[in-house]
């Protein structure tokens, strides 16, 4: 029981990190960034590429992981900004369908671009975390899991601070409420949107590196399912709401953990997506979401 909760917490913290990016971007420009899951994959591959370039393999050092984490975050953040600039910004006034289709195209481009560079087979992530564990309250906890949860919690705290306490964060919230009014008040809308893409993408990149270090293998399609799951998490929590995304991520992690225990691991994804459909049917605003104003 405790073990299931703990496992759910680990997976849930990955989901939460990716869901945050979804939710932030959605909150601010009402775009479902399909390429977000692939940014997660890119984060893992940036880490892999850098470490391989230095000839590092099979390391288990936490400082090294942190360095790689930062590097991947900056790189994926910049990639996210670039994608917004090239693919989404020119279409900001287009019909929603056009932007969604563009996002699919970007996602495809990233996946198969990485496939062309690194090949279709899974790669072993060069930095692993030691998996010796201790028994605690009837559950088995490894050091690597604690490190991951701490990193995830730290990143979320930093994000909460940025959004709630800084000038930039206030600008983000203002744009989420009303972009035109925010612009009239002197907010540089384009710059703030770029910042949001940077932060969201770097969180996804961080989750990618952590997943690489935790699971040990990465491949070019690893972002697809987690992108879907993270979206589910964002919807459960209430899309556009940051605390909702965190809560939804952890909740989805738990649900999956219990779901696989009850129905068997092969039904895990079906369970999660069925939950998404049920949630959208009965409570589309999510747990913490404000009522979505659909009509203009």
């Amino acid at each position: 029981m405790m073990q299931l909760i703990w496992n759910g917490l680990i997976v849930g913290s990955f989901y939460a990190l990716v869901a945050l990016g979804y939710s932030m971007v959605y909150g601010i420009i009402k775009l479902l960034n399909f390429a977000h899951g692939d940014i997660y994959m890119l984060g893992a591959f940036v880490g892999f590429f850098t470490l391989s370039a230095f000839g590092i393999s099979n390391e288990t050092s936490i400082p090294l992981l942190l360095v790689i984490l930062l590097l991947s975050m900056v790189t994926t953040g910049l990639i996210g900004v670039g994608i917004e600039r090239v693919a989404y910004r020119p279409l900001r006034r287009s019909p929603r369908l056009a932007v969604l289709i563009t996002a699919i195209g970007v996602s495809f481009t990233l996946e198969y671009g990485v496939r062309q560079i690194f090949g279709p087979n899974p790669e072993a992530f060069p930095v692993r975390l030691e998996s010796t564990g201790v028994d605690l309250l009837g559950m088995r906890v490894t050091a690597s899991q604690i490190v991951l949860v701490v990193i995830a919690a730290g990143l979320m705290l930093v994000l909460a601070h940025i959004v709630e306490r800084t000038r930039e964060g206030r600008a983000m919230r203002a744009i989420a409420l009303d972009p035109q009014a925010a612009q009239l008040m002197g907010v540089n809308v384009n710059r703030v949107i770029s910042t949001v893409f940077f932060i969201g993408s770097s969180l996804a990149g961080a989750a990618g590196v952590m997943a690489g270090a935790y699971y040990g293998s990465i491949d070019f399609l690893m972002g697809f399912v987690i992108g879907l799951k993270a979206f589910t998490a964002a919807v459960i929590g209430g899309i556009g709401n940051l605390y909702g995304a965190m809560l939804g991520g952890l909740l989805l992690g738990m649900l999956e953990s219990f779901g696989s225990a009850w129905f068997g691991g092969e039904w895990r994804d079906v369970f999660a997506f069925a939950f998404l459909i049920l949630f959208l049917t009965f409570k589309p605003t999510g747990l913490l979401g404000a009522r979505v104003v659909e009509r203009m």
């Binding site: 195209g105 481009t109 990233l110 198969y112 671009g113 879907l228 997506f273 959208l280 049917t281």
Partner: protein
């Protein structure tokens, strides 16, 4: 008094005033009118379809032609959903899978003949369309996109896990079509010409289904329902204000798309005689979407071109097989950025018809009293903006 007024009005010679000018007669002929040309083009395409096995009836050509036709069917179905109704469906391949699996299970496990499985396929697709569409079509369009994506995965994983679907290895030995003792496998001899099984299949099933599918979808789009779809796509609130039941319009588009995909799925099941969950990955949903977007959403000739491009490209460009998904992804972004209406937009006017701009109407006796300057100004060429500006 009022009654007398009513009577007087009833018998008064109420007539519409005489028109100010004569309407120009609608152009006829193959090269003078858009519809005439499109019909001729369709006729040529059908002729080519019929003549193809006489040109080359080799196993390879027939097999490619049948898969290309299946793609056309799928793209026409998705075009109803995305192109006409403006609903982004990212799990479209799921309905294809439902069609393939239902026909596969009914013919192998229950031993039904293939034609008897047809109603079951259609019914299963309608039910699947309602299950997935009913809860989500009330929501914003982007929720629909991601829910359909999830649904596609659910179907694939379910097919992978259940025993009745054969698990990861799928269903084998799906029979071909047979009617009352005569099977396609026997071949057919007409006027001394011998047709092997694959050619008979191509003629009697694939080609017929595709012709009906393409024309049917095109006709639907022109009717009342089709106009409702396009109104919902362009502005849902305005459509609702005009008395369209938007929910019914959306769900009917969704169901029709599902049925088209299911029929394509049954075609594929008989064509390949084996199906497995790997044929129903998200990748294929994306490929079909790509074909529709590339060709032109809502445009029948465009969608057919897109479908042929996507299905034939890997055959023609074997050396680039590795690169094709990357190229498709980049193409999707580039098309949306620079030519969002696709290669053959739904509002396209044939170039030679476009050149002669609409002339101001000729004067008749009725317009003689009006000075020409009045007709010249603001509505001099009333159609010019509509013709060139409109894009879906």
């Amino acid at each position: 008094m009022a009654r007398r007024l009513d009577l007087a009005l009833k018998h008064a010679p109420l007539r519409a005033p005489a028109p100010l000018f004569d309407r120009p007669r609608a152009a006829r002929g193959v090269f003078d009118s858009q519809t005439g040309f499109m019909r001729a083009l369709g006729g040529v395409a059908v002729l080519f379809l019929v003549a193809l096995p006489f040109i080359d009836a080799s196993r390879y050509t027939m097999s490619i032609a049948i898969s290309a036709l299946i793609y056309v069917m799928l793209c026409m179905g998705l075009n109803v959903v995305v192109g006409y109704a403006g609903l982004l469906d990212l799990g479209y391949i799921a309905f294809f899978a439902v069609g393939a699996y239902v026909s596969g299970i009914f013919t192998t496990v229950l031993g039904w003949p293939m034609w008897a499985a047809l109603p079951a396929t259609v019914l299963a697709c309608i039910i699947a369309g309602i299950i997935i569409g009913a809860p989500t079509l009330r929501l914003r369009s982007d929720y629909l996109a991601i829910v359909t994506l999830g649904f596609g995965e659910i179907i694939r994983i379910t097919a992978n896990n259940l025993t009745i679907t054969g698990g990861p290895s799928g269903i084998h030995g799906i029979p071909s079509w047979d009617f009352f003792g005569w099977s396609f496998e026997d071949g057919l001899t007409v006027f001394g010409l011998e047709f092997p099984e694959r050619v008979v299949f191509y003629y009697f099933v694939a080609a017929v289904v595709i012709i009906v599918g393409v024309i049917g979808a095109g006709r639907l789009a022109k009717g009342k329902l089709g106009r409702a779809w396009k109104a919902v796509r362009d502005d849902e609130d305005a459509a609702e204000a005009m008395g369209i039941n938007t929910y019914v319009a959306k769900i009917s588009a969704y169901i029709i798309g599902a049925v088209w995909a299911g029929l394509a799925g049954q075609l594929m099941a008989t064509h390949l005689s084996a199906i497995s969950p790997n044929s129903f990955q998200f990748l294929y949903s994306a490929l079909i979407l790509m074909a529709v977007v590339l060709g032109g959403m809502g445009s029948t000739p465009g969608v057919i071109i897109g479908a042929l491009f996507v299905s034939l490209a890997p055959e023609l460009l074997r050396d680039f097989a590795e690169w094709r998904f990357l190229i498709f992804g980049v193409l999707l972004v580039v098309v949306m950025l620079f030519r969002p209406a696709g290669l053959w937009p739904a509002t396209a006017i044939l170039p030679w018809l476009k050149r002669d701009r609409p002339q101001p109407p000729p004067f008749t006796s009725a317009t003689a009293a009006v000075p020409p300057s009045v007709l010249e100004s603001p509505s001099g060429a009333p159609d010019a903006d509509v013709r060139e500006g409109g894009r879906g």
